[in-house]
Symmetry: C2
Subunit: 124 residues, 2 copies
């Protein structure tokens, strides 16, 4: 029978630790995961997809607080779709800004690299 993955397997799959997975659940970022007869978590594909989405939000810099807000909206059902879209669009703007900032600062770094290269030339 395939009743889903254990917390360890799910952790390996989504690239988080088992500790973090339980902590996400406790923090309300994840719906309480179904348990097997022995009380152990069984992660099904829906849980995994949700976790993968969360990791994308995290790596793009969304705070746990905002992820929780999003999870709450998702729990409330279809009538929160517009708010969820707005939340994502705001997040998207922040990510775009972040990318722009990184690209701008990268320029300064490249300039520095060039200067160091020149200095290395001159030292010879």
């Amino acid at each position: 029978m395939n009743r889903g993955l254990t917390v360890g397997e799910a952790a390996a799959k989504v690239g988080l630790s088992t500790h973090t997975l339980r902590w996400y659940e406790q923090e309300g970022l994840v719906e309480p995961v179904n348990r097997d007869g022995a009380g152990r978590r069984r992660y099904e594909s829906g849980d995994l997809n949700w976790l993968i989405l969360l990791t994308r939000l995290r790596t793009t810099g969304m705070s746990v607080r905002d992820m929780r807000r999003y999870a709450e909206l998702a729990r409330l059902g279809p009538q929160t779709v517009s708010e969820r879209r707005r939340l994502f669009e705001e997040h998207k703007e922040r990510v775009l800004e972040r990318i722009a900032d990184l690209q701008r600062d990268l320029e300064a770094i490249n300039v520095k690299i060039e200067i160091y290269r020149q200095m290395e030339q001159d030292q010879r």
Copy 2:
């Protein structure tokens, strides 16, 4: 007489708090800043340029630990230029990776936005 900016003026100029400026100095990220007769810090243009460079490194995700290493190299003089260049090139690679990750995850966010838009359509 213009013997440089006070810590408050420097903080305003580079976008850090006075607390953070003193803390950077204490952590070895910044050379001890010259003082006036009353023992107050006087930030000169060299100090400001250094701080601006540091803020760029920070906003691009360099850790305080690595910034300290860089500051130490800079203190050692011209014979560390090659190592400083290497340090910057490694950092540059990390920033490029970060940008790529953000752009990849942004795709998933855009997909989500599209899905929500569809759902909003269908609800009408």
